[in-house]
Symmetry: C2
Subunit: 221 residues, 2 copies
Amino acid sequence: MDLDVQTDILEANDAVAAENRRRFDAAGLLVINLMSSPGSGKTTLLEKMAAALAGQLRIGVIEGDIATSRDADRLTAVGVPAVQISTGSSCHLNADMISNALSSLDLNALDVLFVENVGNLVCPAEFEIGEHYKVTLLSTTEGDEKPLKYPAMFHVCSAMVVNKLDLMPYTNFNLNEATANALSINPRLAVFPLSCTTGEGLDAWISWVTSRLDETRKRQK
Amino acid sequence: MDLDVQTDILEANDAVAAENRRRFDAAGLLVINLMSSPGSGKTTLLEKMAAALAGQLRIGVIEGDIATSRDADRLTAVGVPAVQISTGSSCHLNADMISNALSSLDLNALDVLFVENVGNLVCPAEFEIGEHYKVTLLSTTEGDEKPLKYPAMFHVCSAMVVNKLDLMPYTNFNLNEATANALSINPRLAVFPLSCTTGEGLDAWISWVTSRLDETRKRQK
């Protein structure tokens, strides 16, 4: 794409993202943008968090998919307010799509809003949506070299969830190697190895989210 | 993106793709564009094919990655002529990148050229590179609903390799469901369940490739 066109698109997007952020902060809401390859387990992680935090925190979800409302249906089924964005052919969510989706959510009735981006380890990293934190999932079946091959995603994120620990014994995935590769791209990355199937590691990840909520609320005051 | 800008980009790309195709046909070469999510096993499949076809067919590879030359290095290590394209921030290969890479390959010394696209189940589907066939990989750890969620990729491909059959027992992936989902998007899709780890199913996939070579050479005469 022409570089000027791309710069214009990103600048226009950033302006809408800043307006989204103002709305999130006015509602005292923490917003986390979840990004990964297709099939890394974003929706399953959200299901597990919804169950673990039920009665403690009010969670909402915006689902971004090219087609189908399967992911939003899965979350609605476990009692989570979920809005589906169908992007058509677009390979990422942008700030405009989020702005439009917000009209379907009561922000004041939520503590944490997760945005599940389109499954894509490349393009979503470029588009701010007004979130407070970006988080990427890497599953053990994808290979421990992925942070080096897709560096932009790991560079922009605050945390990396390493999912599917239960499948690691059947692969050649090396957790230390994956962690070292990710930290070589972004030394400030918080790393959470876990399994949504066995529940191992979920507590540490959930603690990180609740700590981010506390910190964000202090800044919002 | 502005729709006119996108149309212009795709039309310019198609013209270069047609020129690439003329070069492939003049050299009597079959070219297959391999596309999938990151970590579905594209490079491993190429390693296995190179071993299986050694002494029978002359294989070459063009590797597309955002960063690193790890995949080309893996193939060079097993004796396959491989050219690495580093796309920088681009989420897909385009016809221009392929055209430039061809100067580093002796096309007349090859029978089949595989192009391993950037790991991305969305954007590469839109860009012709002059290939004769597009093939997508779906691994059992990614989930059997993926063809419905990323329909464009499955629509443009001639074949779907379902990889990591060896991991299927540890997941909730249903092979019949995945196949039905893919065929609902594209009824002409040839489906090859296999495991690069155990070797199961590799023969049928390799037969498909060699049949495509025979057919393509008949058309090229």
